[in-house]
């Protein structure tokens, strides 16, 4: 192909004037192709006649035109060959995938043309595949030539301003086609020069003829539309430019990518994605809850819930208290308890409680949507059936190099890992099953799993124990720092030690590293999740106990207020009028369990951040420093030997991120400030980790490639999102909120705020409608419907899958057949073998062996060689065998049989005749 295209290019270079025409002509015919072929594709006969007509037209043209056309034809033949079969092939590839890409009109045309042909010579399909294509090309060419001329016609006509309706339509289509070409030109595998040229011509064409379209009234409108279109495209392009320049950290990530391969970079991309999502959550929470409260809500100190209680006031500004998020922090917008239950605040009548609830639910909804959408997109991008090992070696060969690597060391590692992976697969191939001491391995694996289960259980119990203990501590005074932060420390430590432990245990199992990684991830995830949920359960215990004592406190506080007024009037008998209100910092308060829960989550997040950052600082940076500088005065080589530099732990980091996000989701409802903290954390960790990885880590010894289709992390994220959704929704739906703090105080349930809004703010009929909608009967019906839909879709997808499998199987079968037929010239295919074996014998000995023949035939029917026994395949395959054998003369080509006259052998012995359609042996 390159040679040909070279010639074509030479041609371009030599005669530019011709060439220009060629190019445009080519475009013309492409453009024409669509319109004309739409009619022509179905009825070819008509096309032929019309072609004749066209020829006559051509005669009428001035000789100049003819010459040009001739030149065009000549040039075009080259062009055609060189360039047009690329898209053709591509379109063939596309078709196989069942996806018509936008490579456009020409592809489609060809396809339709070919299809119609296909219909005609279906019988010879196998035989004439190549020919068929050629035919098509020829016919295409013919048609295109025809169209060229007509294109010229229309042009000249155009100049004379005598356009008929049909020509207008044609021109319009041409213009559209050009536009399409302009849009898709980057998808064409051409050289830049050519692309630029074609683009320029197409643009000129569009510019020239676009204005001419439309007449009279329509003209202006059309021109206007075209202009707007141009503006719109320009705007889109500018917007695109702007958008890409807005994607942050692109270069940073690319730098990491070039040093560590795409797998490490995938972590940072994930981090960036997470940051984007959290930014939206942050915008929601702060824009709709926190800022309105700050601007329009009651100021600090106006009511009890917004004031630090008197006993705490002395220490409320202490640094140590503030870092624990107690004191002034606890009574601020960061936490649930600060918000008032006024229905509307400020002059805008902003319904804060409602907005609080909706934002809480909406952020879950948004996250779900984003995660699922990303997953779906990833699944779409992935090649689909990536799992089956059809092409192990081929894939390894062609896709194992990570083209993003730009660092010598990484490249070395990559080379090594590719070599090992090849060696591994070779070994695998050679001895598919090495069964050395399978019992020991099995035992070890069971043991490992047992140990891990024990560890998980132990860690769960430990956390439960610690949370219980922390409840006891809560009632005590003068605690040490450790006792106060025991729970967070234990959880972080578990998160640190657990994975290491798992890794050690996993060595027992001797899995393949990729599988081992998945196991490892799953286990760490289970650990995190178990910890989180035990933590939650313990919290729920606490919440329940707080709820239990709430009633008595409520009574006590009411009684306290009454007492205060009574005392006041008793002490100042002369005072008339209402007594001054109680100072907000006095008075008895409820425990406000929501704030307590929020506080726990915030503390957990903070300690998580601290531990992560410290680990990086000590585990990576300090280690790197020591290794680097102590190496000068140490007894062994630190860089090559034991401590060495750290590697970037992708899986651990990703899991940490996912887990952290789960805490944010859960805690954000009780502490709106948590989202802000998280955004800061992600932002800082982007820079910090980028720096750390570039400064103190070395590339992995086994560099693996991250594949975009890897939905594993996303799946984990979805799972944890769902799991963190549950407790929050549970509290919203069933638990009574605290009586004296938070936006929902005084309601029986948090969700009641919605009911209230419906009752009071919406017109009555809306209320009734919503009432009907919330009717259990309707909901059950809806759920049923959804379940049915899911079932239906599921079965449909299953059916598609089956069909897919079937097709694949068929393809495999056909391939095997083909292979057998070609590879072995002396044919493993029994039929052919029989034929070839028998015929010469017949010729020589003129003896027939009907029995033998029959026997062989029977054999062949029973098991065709080298073909995997298909399910329903046998007789189908037999048929195919026959047809293939008969249809393809090439297969018989290599049979070197003396073409001499055959002896007068008895006819019944001739298997060829017995086979039916096979061409009779030559005489």
């Amino acid at each position: 192909m390159p040679k040909k295209s070279d010639t074509a290019r030479k041609l371009e270079d030599v005669g530019i004037d011709i060439d220009g025409e060629v190019e445009s002509a080519e475009e013309d015919k492409k453009a024409k192709g669509k319109g004309a072929k739409k009619t022509a594709a179905g009825k070819r006969g008509k096309a032929v006649t019309s072609e004749d007509g066209e020829d006559e037209d051509e005669d009428d043209e001035p000789p100049r035109g003819r010459r040009a056309a001739k030149k065009k034809k000549a040039a075009q033949a080259d062009e055609e060959d060189s360039d047009d079969d690329i898209p053709q092939r591509r379109c063939a590839g596309n078709r196989r995938r069942g996806k018509v890409r936008e490579s456009g009109g020409d592809g489609e045309n060809k396809k339709s043309g070919r299809k119609s042909k296909r219909g005609g010579n279906k019988k010879q399909k196998d035989k004439g595949k190549g020919k068929d294509k050629d035919n098509d090309k020829d016919s295409d060419k013919d048609e295109k030539k025809k169209k060229n001329s007509s294109g010229d016609d229309s042009k000249s006509d155009e100049e004379e301003e005598s356009m008929s309706e049909g020509e207008m339509a044609k021109l319009m289509e041409e213009v559209e086609e050009k536009k399409k070409l302009i849009a898709n030109i980057r998808n064409k595998p051409w050289r830049m020069k050519r692309r630029l040229k074609v683009l320029k011509e197409a643009q000129q064409f569009v510019d020239k003829f676009e204005g001419a379209l439309g007449k009279g009234k329509g003209r202006k409108l059309y021109a206007y539309k075209v202009m707007m279109m141009k503006k719109w495209i320009k705007f889109q392009r500018d917007f695109e430019n702007f958008r890409t320049s807005c994607i942050p950290w692109e270069r940073k990530i690319k730098e990491v990518e070039s040093h560590f391969g795409s797998s490490v970079a995938s972590y940072f991309i994930f981090l960036r994605w997470m940051y984007g999502m959290n930014l939206v959550l942050f915008g929601l929470t702060f824009g709709l809850v926190v800022i309105p409260e700050v601007l329009m809500g009651l100021p600090y100190g106006s009511i009890p819930r917004k004031t630090v209680p008197r006993p705490e006031q002395a220490t409320a500004m202490d640094y140590s208290v503030l870092t624990d998020f107690n004191g002034y922090c606890k009574y601020s917008v960061l936490f649930y308890g600060y918000y008032n239950n006024q229905r509307t605040i400020g002059f805008l009548k902003f319904r804060l409680p409602l907005s609080y609830l909706l934002v809480g639910i909406g952020s879950f909804g948004y996250s779900l949507m984003v995660v699922i959408r990303t997953m779906a997109k990833n699944a779409d991008v992935g090649g689909g059936d990536g799992e089956d090992s059809e092409f192990t070696f081929a894939w390894k060969m062609f896709t194992s190099w990570d083209y993003l690597i730009g660092n010598a060391e990484t490249a070395d590692n990559k080379f090594a890992s590719i070599t090992t992976s090849f060696k591994e697969s070779i070994v695998d191939e050679q001895e598919n099953q090495k069964d050395e001491n399978i019992h020991l391995r099995r035992f070890l694996r069971v043991l490992a799993n047992f140990l891990i289960t024990c560890t998980l259980g132990g860690s769960g119990y430990l956390i439960y124990f610690v949370v219980k203990r922390s409840q006891e501590f809560a009632n005590m005074d003068n605690l040490s720092w450790y006792e106060k932060n025991e729970m967070e420390i234990i959880m972080s430590l578990l998160g640190l030690v657990g994975p290491m432990l798992f890794e050690t245990i996993a060595e027992l199992e001797e899995y393949h590293p990729r599988i081992a990684l998945k196991w490892q991830l799953g286990r760490i995830f289970a650990l995190f999740l178990g910890n989180l949920y035990t933590f939650l359960l313990a919290l729920f215990d606490e919440v329940n106990s707080k709820l239990a004592e709430e009633d008595s406190i409520k009574n006590a506080s009411i009684w306290f207020v009454k007492e205060y007024y009574a005392n006041f009037s008793a002490n100042n008998p002369n005072y008339t009028g209402t007594p001054p209100p109680l100072d907000p910092s006095d008075g008895i308060r409820g425990p406000c369990w929501e704030t307590a829960v929020g506080l726990e989550f915030v503390k957990l997040t903070i300690s998580d951040i601290q531990v992560t950052y410290l680990t990086i600082l000590i585990g990576d940076f300090l280690r790197a420093l020591i290794v680097r500088f102590l190496n000068y005065c140490w007894c062994w080589d630190l860089e090559a030997g034991w401590p060495s530099y750290g590697e970037f732990d992708i899986s651990g980091n990703v899991l940490g991120l996912v887990f952290n996000q789960g805490m944010i989701w859960m805690g954000a409802f009780y502490a709106p400030g948590l989202v802000g903290i998280n955004v800061l954390r992600l932002l800082s960790s982007m820079y910090y980790q980028c720096w750390a990885v570039m400064a103190c880590n070395v590339p992995h010894e086994r560099v693996f490639k991250a594949s975009k289709s890897n939905n594993f992390y996303m799946g984990l994220l979805l799972l944890i999102l769902f799991l963190s959704l549950l407790p929050v929704v549970y509290t919203i739906m069933t638990l009574p909120p605290s009586f004296d703090c938070g936006p929902f105080s005084g309601k029986a349930k948090m969700i009641d705020i919605v009911m209230e809004t419906i009752d009071m703010d919406l017109p009555a009929f809306m209320g009734t409608i919503l009432g009907y909608l919330a009717n259990p009967g309707l909901i059950i019906a809806a759920v049923l419907l959804m379940v049915l839909a899911i079932y239906y879709l599921n079965s449909v997808s299953q059916a598609y899958q089956n069909a897919n499998m079937e097709l694949k199987k068929k393809m495999q079968m056909a391939r095997d057949e083909d292979k057998n037929r070609r590879n072995n010239k002396d044919s493993t295919n029994q039929v052919m073998k029989d034929l070839e074996d028998l015929l010469p014998k017949n010729a020589q000995t003129s003896h027939a062996h009907p029995e033998k023949n029959a026997e062989k035939r029977h054999d062949q029917g029973g098991k065709s060689p080298k073909v995997k026994p298909g399910s329903a395949g046998n007789d189908v395959r037999l048929q195919k065998d026959v047809s293939l054998a008969s249809a393809n003369p090439n297969a018989r080509g290599p049979v070197t049989r003396a073409p001499g006259p055959r002896g007068p052998g008895p006819l019944p012995g001739q298997p060829g005749a017995g086979r039916g359609q096979g061409p009779p042996p030559r005489r």
């Binding site: 390159p2 591509r90 590839g93 995938r97 630029l196 890409t244 795409s262 896709t399 690597i405 391939r815």
Partner: protein, 181 residues
């Protein structure tokens, strides 16, 4: 945009944007990368479209390609003269195809060209052997290489002509989970 405008006219930039997967800024950045390879050769004014070629030695020394075992092939495939000497157009073309935004089909096409060492439009055994040796830096024995090549042909060759045509290659490659580049 002031002084940048003097490198390309805005029509040129628009045309380049239409022909590649890059934004204006990226094109300019690429131009500067290109120019930095040989500041004395490449003029700062491309409005007249000067005919400048950078030799393969310079192209191959870019950090993006330096460690790539197929750098020579890549340069050869994308260069107009087939020897790795690149004009700016070729350069842009190369990065456009290698960029993330390029569709799989296009990449598959060029990947095929890259792996097709002897330019005969088929990946045959010798091509495969070359590929493999570059990938593993000649660390496999001859037998192993032969075996792997046979396996590859066996797996991917749909029409059984003992070599991989573009169609075979695309069929195989677009399903690969790792085919991203």
């Amino acid at each position: 945009m002031g002084n940048k405008q003097t490198i390309f006219t805005s029509q040129q930039l628009d045309a380049y944007q239409d022909c590649t997967y890059f934004t204006r800024k990226e094109i300019l950045r690429l131009f500067h990368r290109y120019r930095d390879l040989a500041p004395q050769l490449v003029p700062l004014d491309y409005t007249t479209g000067p005919d400048v070629r950078l030799p393969y030695e310079l192209i191959g020394s870019m950090p993006e390609l330096k460690d790539n075992p197929f750098r020579q092939r890549i340069a050869e495939v994308f260069s107009e003269d087939g020897e790795g000497n690149m004009t700016l157009d070729d350069f842009l073309d190369m990065f456009s195809v290698l960029s993330e935004m390029a569709p799989r089909d296009l990449k598959a096409y060029y990947a095929f060209r890259i792996y097709d060492f002897n330019n005969d439009d088929f990946i045959c055994k010798s091509d495969l052997e070359k590929t493999l040796n570059r990938l593993t830096r000649n660390e496999l024995t001859e037998d192993e290489v032969r075996m792997v090549c046979e396996k590859v042909i066996d797996e991917a060759d749909l029409d059984n002509d003992g070599r991989l045509s573009l169609e075979d290659f695309q069929h195989m490659i677009v399903r690969a989970p790792d085919f991203l580049r």
